[in-house]
Symmetry: C2
Subunit: 169 residues, 2 copies
């Protein structure tokens, strides 16, 4: 199964991954979140080759995650910014940052390499999950996944197809 097929899954995680589930893509998006928007700067700060960077930016533009704007006429110069769709990836970045900082810290007492601060009060922000129904904060252990009908059916179909294929060998 290639990723064009995964793209078709009913699972929103799979569909998200089909667009942004790639190391370089995510690293480039990180830079765009930081406010880097020039090609050369993106190249320097991510370490990607120009070829790779151009490819990824083109794909991100096609997917509506990144907008390319011409900021100079002659010579033509472009800058890259996040669209609203791209900005909506912030929770993904933030979650990756928190996990990386917690489980892959370089030293036990390292200063936070990256924090998100509340622009109005300057305090660093941490993520929290609040149950909108009972108002309680919930930890991972309090949560369980629940499937919609379509996705549940897709899963059953996958399992059956796989078993049938195995039997036929």
């Amino acid at each position: 199964m290639g990723w064009d097929e995964v793209d078709d899954s009913a699972c929103p995680v799979a569909r998200a991954l089909a667009v942004v589930g790639d190391r370089w893509t995510l690293l480039i998006l990180r830079e765009l979140f930081f406010g880097t928007h020039r090609f050369d700067d993106l190249q320097a700060l991510t370490g990607a080759s120009s070829h790779l960077l151009a490819t990824r930016l083109r794909r991100l533009e096609e997917d509506g995650v990144v907008a390319r704007r011409q900021y100079n006429d002659r010579p033509p110069r472009y800058e890259y910014t996040l669209t609203p769709k791209g900005r909506d990836l912030q929770p993904v970045m933030f979650a990756l940052r928190s996990w990386g900082a917690k489980w892959h810290a370089r030293s036990s007492k390292e200063e936070p390499a990256l924090s998100l601060v509340h622009a109005s009060c300057g305090a660093p922000v941490e993520a929290a999950m609040i149950c909108p129904s009972c108002g309680e904060p919930c930890t991972n252990a309090d949560l369980r996944a629940s499937f919609g009908k379509t996705f549940a059916a897709e899963r059953r179909a996958r399992l059956e197809a796989f078993q049938a294929r195995k039997r036929s060998d």
Copy 2:
């Protein structure tokens, strides 16, 4: 720059990506979050080949994200579960799910294919960011990134090295 080097960055996002920044890895982790823990089921539900699945599971085990437990002696049978480190990836999954559901919905009025429900009250949970200092909920626009000294220095070094390399051509 290969990903072994990115792994060395001061950026927690980059270090997280070096471990889990891969489509298949993330898709397999999704399944583990759903409670799938047998090899064949993982294969069927992700669509990965056995070779690919074995490779990814081995890597995830080495990275301490997944634990392999023998649940049968003869023949030896293993099952895969998330370690605490792996379970901590839940916000990443959840953020991907929300983004995928919002921006890559298959129809405008589709039922949610996947939700996280609060185990104690059964209500679906959404993520919210609360500023721990002022107690206000904040949206993406209220937040800005702030770099630690090490990461800031690394970024300056990258920019300078890149410019020097360009000049020398």
